[in-house]
Symmetry: C2
Subunit: 392 residues, 2 copies
């Protein structure tokens, strides 16, 4: 076979998750899509806020030339300035357009950061459970993920993080609100993390970066505050997208923000911009860059997701499911009553309820339930969730 | 410095080209943008065809849900089917949606192909002069470019290609119409190339792929035909974008098509789709995928570029410039009357004419003039072009 050996391996090792999705498709074909309750995908079911379409319409009617042309690889200056202004409202830092690079989603943003900072074999510490696509992104740049456990309540385990730090450590990557747990890190926790990183950065003689992946920042419940890492640690990047808060994941629009006081800022920003180009992204899609410029204060109605969370949590709790109520994002990560999460996933599958085993997120003994689905799906799946729990 | 050593090197080694662009900006600030004649960028000056805006408007008024949602990583099936139908009209092959992957421009498409096929250290043969960004794309996947010379008229040098083939050779990459030369490969030439590749593939016991980068396919002059490689060689990929023919390079929309009879097709298509995801692209921008579905037969008015080419060529010929008249794309690649193309580029710069030295394209002793600019820019630059040539 003439294709890359690594890709052949990746295809083989991803076959179990593909098989789960195929089985789901087969069930939908067999029983009718309306009778299969698909909680397996983080594809938001809400439509974008109405203002999104309005903004697109206005942009199309704008007669100024060059709207779909190439631009600086870092993106449209007006949009980057709008993002900077938005960040300045969130926290106490002072951003300018110079510290913002518009990207092809948060996935593009992470790849651009990794490519810019990593030498081959260098490591990024990631608390488990985690979004395993990070491993692929790191591998693209010959970096390695160094996974560390979290505490029972999914909060940061500082002993584990400290023990994992070596001279190969380039960064710590956090994701809050979290996929797959829905956990949110508190400010005190992030302050402690900043302290640990400052300590070891000094010891190593070079910064350990903090990279915060924040696509779910706006999807937070019960008035919980998502702390701004820029107020806590200078050697930091935020990567994010508008996929979840505007429900436009297919459009691939996001950004990287580097701390205004990050060391070697000029070199880093030049590197990020260069990598945005050389990785083949070139620049973030122009039309969406122009659109989100007017949508930085907007989002879907988060209370709808909160209601879904409550429906799901109330139901599952009454059936005896064991979980930590999510503070954000749209995932629930209950413990499985049997050790093997595949067994439990399969039992749910028999009830036409599709979930993903926690093993797919470095969190065996759990399942991930993505509740960015219709209320009807949640309601109709309840009896199945109950029957499966009763079996164990 | 904590950033990647390779990126530090890239920033340093790219500094000369950045310096040229900075000097251009400085000149524009000093003399006024209208008095600086910028032929340095391949950023099309034409607006997209009017139908583009119409299509976008119609899409926005379409009330069907999920238009901006995630999709298969390969892209929207309807769009892929439309691309397949379009390819079937061009040539004698029979495509289906299964052989098409929608990508973030041709840059995304090339990275997806390279990642799918290359093992570390494997080589891709590229005829010079060439678009040097290919080197970066190959390096992303630990591949290497193996540059080979072309004949004086920019046609393929089969001896050079044959000599470059080793057991490390994974593919040959061609670009026709070509950036920076405007050259178009004839059918007989590509048939001969297919013969060479078939011969060596058999000898090596595995296919040497032919990758054809075709973003300028529609920008061809004087009724010249751009042969379809799919009719000539089974182990082939076309990568392309809508950036140039629709003048929407900022939107990042393109595709990969793999030959319907390529070996190991299922594994290759799975690999391309997987890499589209894992490289952080996830999928091509949804809105533009839906738009180009209705624009496959459309393009900007190519005769406008042809007129610009003629204006430029007629003028420069009369001043004694030595060049091959381009058959396509919007670049002219004249020989410099002094050996050092930087010296000639600087002399033009003194006349406020901005070009790029051929050295930046593996073609020293030339300059690249991108004539996707206003007629006025071409006209006004003529006296400067004449004065500089008179000096030599």
């Amino acid at each position: 076979m003439a294709i890359s050996r690594k890709i052949q391996e990746s295809i083989k090792s991803a076959s179990w998750i593909r098989r789960i999705f195929e089985e789901g498709r087969e069930r939908k074909a067999k029983y009718g899509a309306e009778n299969v309750f698909d909680f397996s995908l983080g594809n938001p079911n809400l439509e974008p806020p109405p203002k999104f379409k309005q903004v697109l319409k206005e942009l199309i009617n704008d007669p100024s030339p060059g709207q779909h042309a190439y631009m600086l690889n870092a993106g449209i200056v007006k949009t980057r300035q709008a993002v900077a202004d938005h960040l300045n409202e969130l926290g106490g830092t002072r951003f300018t357009a110079d510290e913002i690079i518009m990207t092809v989603g948060a996935g593009g943003a992470l790849n651009v950061v990794f490519k810019t900072i990593l030498n081959p074999g260098e490591e990024v510490i990631i608390p488990k459970p985690y979004f395993v696509e990070y491993d692929n992104y790191l591998d693209n740049h010959q970096g390695l993920s160094r996974l560390v456990g979290s505490r029972q309540d999914f909060s940061l385990d500082f002993d584990a993080i400290s023990e994992a730090i070596t001279e190969k450590t380039k960064a710590v990557l956090i994701n809050s609100p979290n996929n797959p747990t829905g956990n949110v890190y508190h400010e005190a926790e992030l302050k402690e993390l900043a302290g640990v990183l400052t300590h070891y950065s000094e010891k190593l003689g070079q910064p350990i970066y903090l990279i915060s992946d924040e696509p779910y920042r706006r999807i937070a419940y019960d008035g919980v505050t998502i702390p701004c890492i820029f107020e806590l640690y200078n050697e930091s990047f935020v990567v994010t997208s508008f996929s979840k808060d505007l429900s436009i994941p297919g459009e691939r629009i996001g950004y990287v923000a580097a701390h205004p006081d990050i060391s070697d800022k000029k070199m880093i920003m030049t590197g990020l911009s260069l990598c945005n180009r050389t990785l083949g992204y070139t620049n973030a899609p122009a039309f969406m860059q122009r659109a989100i410029c007017h949508l930085l204060e907007d989002s879907v109605d988060i209370s709808i997701y909160q209601k879904k969370r409550d429906m799901l949590c109330d139901g599952l709790a009454s059936f005896g499911y064991d979980f930590i109520k999510p503070k954000g994002a749209f995932y629930l990560f209950p413990r499985t009553p049997v050790e093997d999460d595949f067994v439990f996933m399969r039992a749910l599958q028999e009830e036409n309820i599709l979930t993903v085993p926690g093993s797919g997120f470095g969190g065996p003994g759990h399942i991930r339930i993505a509740y960015c689905v219709s209320d009807e799906t949640i309601e109709k799946a309840m009896p199945g969730f109950e029957r499966v729990m009763k079996k164990y």
